[in-house]
């Protein structure tokens, strides 16, 4: 297992500086929200989906992994050797959210510039363009690129110098469905070559299908990390069954069920209940219900996040402001 670990982040933390003016020092800054004590082991060739609400600290964590933000606490190591920030940056390719590439510069000039910054050959940088489908636009100016093409250029820059870890912050934003599909296939092929990928995205369905493991982040803390199945089991998640009926379940029967979700659509009643009620199927058949769907459904990423945080959907959705202000875990030391 240890040999498969591409990088290990141990108890890393960073807190943003925020203005805390006082009458005698209007420029005073203090510690604000951030990331606390995150342990994350990244396996070679693994695709990690980072899930959390707005303000949970996803971008901060990705910036720390990319070496943009310093590790105020903890350390990063590879094969037992602690890495410095320069080594970290040379191993990680970072694609930020929504880079608005814009200037008269061409794609060729941009890639050449970043090849020098990355310390790789210009030819290899230009070759990466074929991988992301920008080779035929190599002499186009950045001003003329569509948002999807800008995303591809960001990915091309992130892929420079064959990084061991690819960090992608909202990569699907601005991409059309065809490009998204091609993008996902490209990521999978990169992972198959041993490149580890960490993706933060609000496109949870895409993320669920793509990611090998899910990391749940909330209020700057990594609550859980593992495969969907392992998270389901560790979070004590019951298996759920979805059934669609032609009429409502009678109240007397409904009382005996743990109904997790109910949708009343035209001529259809969709229920999500805890699995394991095989007797229910017999009862429904006896009572002449027409059952159009009966299937076990895995929990969605939102449900996993809800289970991990102990909050319901509504609360977690409205929790954005608090999440950036109040850490769940007590942070050592005095607040500045």
């Amino acid at each position: 297992m240890g040999d498969d670990i591409a990088m290990q982040f141990s108890a890393i933390g960073f807190r943003h500086s925020i203005p805390k003016p006082t009458w005698y020092n209007p420029l005073k800054k203090g510690k604000g929200a951030g990331i606390t004590h995150v342990d994350l082991a990244i396996t070679k060739g693994e695709i990690i989906g980072l899930v959390g609400t707005n303000g949970a600290g996803k971008t901060t964590l990705l910036r720390m992994i990319s070496g943009i933000l310093p590790l105020e606490e903890g350390n990063v190591s590879q094969a037992g050797m602690e890495l410095d920030v320069r080594a970290l940056r040379s191993m990680v390719g970072f694609m930020p959210e929504q880079v608005r590439w814009s200037s008269q510069q061409t794609i060729r000039q941009t890639m050449t510039e970043f090849a020098h910054l990355r310390g790789c050959s210009v030819q290899s940088a230009l070759d990466v363009l074929s991988l992301v489908g920008l080779r035929n636009r190599i002499d186009a100016s950045l001003d003329s690129l569509s948002q999807g093409m800008r995303q591809r250029l960001s990915l091309a820059v992130a892929l420079l110098g064959t990084p061991e870890i690819l960090v992608l912050d909202e990569p699907f934003n601005g991409m059309d469905p065809v490009a998204t599909d091609a993008f996902k296939r490209l990521l999978r092929s990169l992972a198959d070559k041993g490149i580890s990928i960490i993706i933060s995205s609000h496109h949870l369905i895409e993320l669920d299908l793509l990611a090998d493991t899910i990391a749940l982040l909330h209020r700057g803390q990594l609550l859980a990390h593992g495969t969907t199945e392992s998270l389901q089991s560790s979070l004590g998640f019951e298996q759920m069954t979805e059934l669609v009926l032609d009429k409502m379940i009678p109240e007397s029967l409904a009382k005996t069920l743990n109904i997790l979700d109910y949708v009343d659509a035209a001529n259809e009643h969709r229920y999500v209940i805890e699995s394991g009620r095989h007797d229910l199927l017999e009862t429904l058949i006896e009572k002449k219900f027409q059952i159009s769907t009966w299937r076990v459904v895995p929990p969605t990423l939102i449900e996993l996040l809800c289970a991990a945080t102990g909050l319901d959907r509504e609360t977690i959705g409205m929790d954005v402001e608090q999440s950036s202000m109040i850490p769940l875990r007590t942070i050592g030391g005095e607040e500045e």
Binding site: S17, S66, F94, T112, L117
Partner: protein, 270 residues
């Protein structure tokens, strides 16, 4: 590193804003040299330039007004623009150390303004020689160009520093232009006010006490140090600062902003 710096310099040199500033630079640098080289020029206090070095000294006001302003306008968004569009984040995630990226930014922006200004300075020297038949000695010409390059470097670094602090373009330009305005226009007011508070005969340009006070206070201004450097080549100028003092001040004005900029860059958060 130099490749990146010159690529940046080239991009800025051929930018739209440089095209806009070029006529201003033409008017202020060779234009002023042409004017001050007029053999029949009438200056206040019957000052008449006696040689080409003095003529070029008088023309240096073109560098102070247009050259430094162009440097500020070229570099004011050197970092803030990348910060706004997200490119800064990509740059800061690259393995090239930030101090080297900082050197690239400084050299790139500085060369983009230094190149046209140097060219215009040489044209100015030729114009002065042609019009007044007085040719600037090589040593004076070198000091003249080096001093101009230094003052442009200082303003470039100020503007980049301001750009690194500002979170958006408006603040960046306000900060840079504010600094330029302070040293170029408000400094006279500041000097006069301090001189008056110290009981110096304000307004009497022949008063030695005032000249020495002003000369020493000028060490706190980049434009002042620039003029002190030029005055090391002029005869009969006594403003209380020796040539060595001017060189030391120039060294300090070079090192301190560079240090502050590099320090800022190391702590920069996108």
């Amino acid at each position: 590193m130099l490749h990146l710096a010159f690529a940046l310099g080239k991009e800025r040199l051929f930018s739209t804003r440089m095209l806009i500033m070029l006529p201003i630079l033409l008017l202020f640098i060779p234009g002023m040299a042409w004017g001050f080289a007029d053999p029949n020029i009438q200056l206040p206090a019957n000052q008449i330039p006696e040689n080409a070095t003095e003529t070029m000294f008088l023309s240096s006001i073109g560098i102070v007004f247009a050259g430094t302003m162009a440097a500020v306008l070229i570099a004011h968004d050197g970092i803030s623009r990348d910060r706004t569009n997200g490119v800064l984040e990509v740059r800061l995630s690259q393995p090239m150390p930030r101090w080297r990226q900082g050197v690239v930014m400084i050299i790139g922006h500085w060369t983009s303004i230094a190149f046209p200004v140097t060219l215009l300075l040489f044209i100015s020297m030729l114009l002065v020689g042609y019009r007044s038949d007085m040719w600037i000695p090589l040593g004076d010409a070198i000091i003249y160009v080096v001093a101009a390059m230094l003052v442009l470097l200082w303003y470039t670094v100020f503007a980049l520093l301001a750009s690194s602090i500002a979170r958006e373009q408006g603040s960046a330009i306000a900060f840079s232009i504010g600094l330029w305005f302070l040293f170029t226009l408000l400094w006279v007011l500041f000097t006069t006010l301090l001189a008056a508070l110290n009981g110096v005969a304000v307004g009497d340009t022949q008063d030695q006490g005032y000249l020495i006070f002003e000369g020493r206070l000028d060490l706190l201004s980049p434009n002042g140090v620039y003029h002190h450097l030029l005055e090391t080549r002029l005869d009969g100028v006594e403003r209380g600062v020796s040539a060595l003092g001017a060189y030391i001040a120039a060294f300090v004005w070079t090192i301190v902003p560079l240090y502050l900029f590099q320090r800022r860059l190391n702590r920069l958060v996108p």
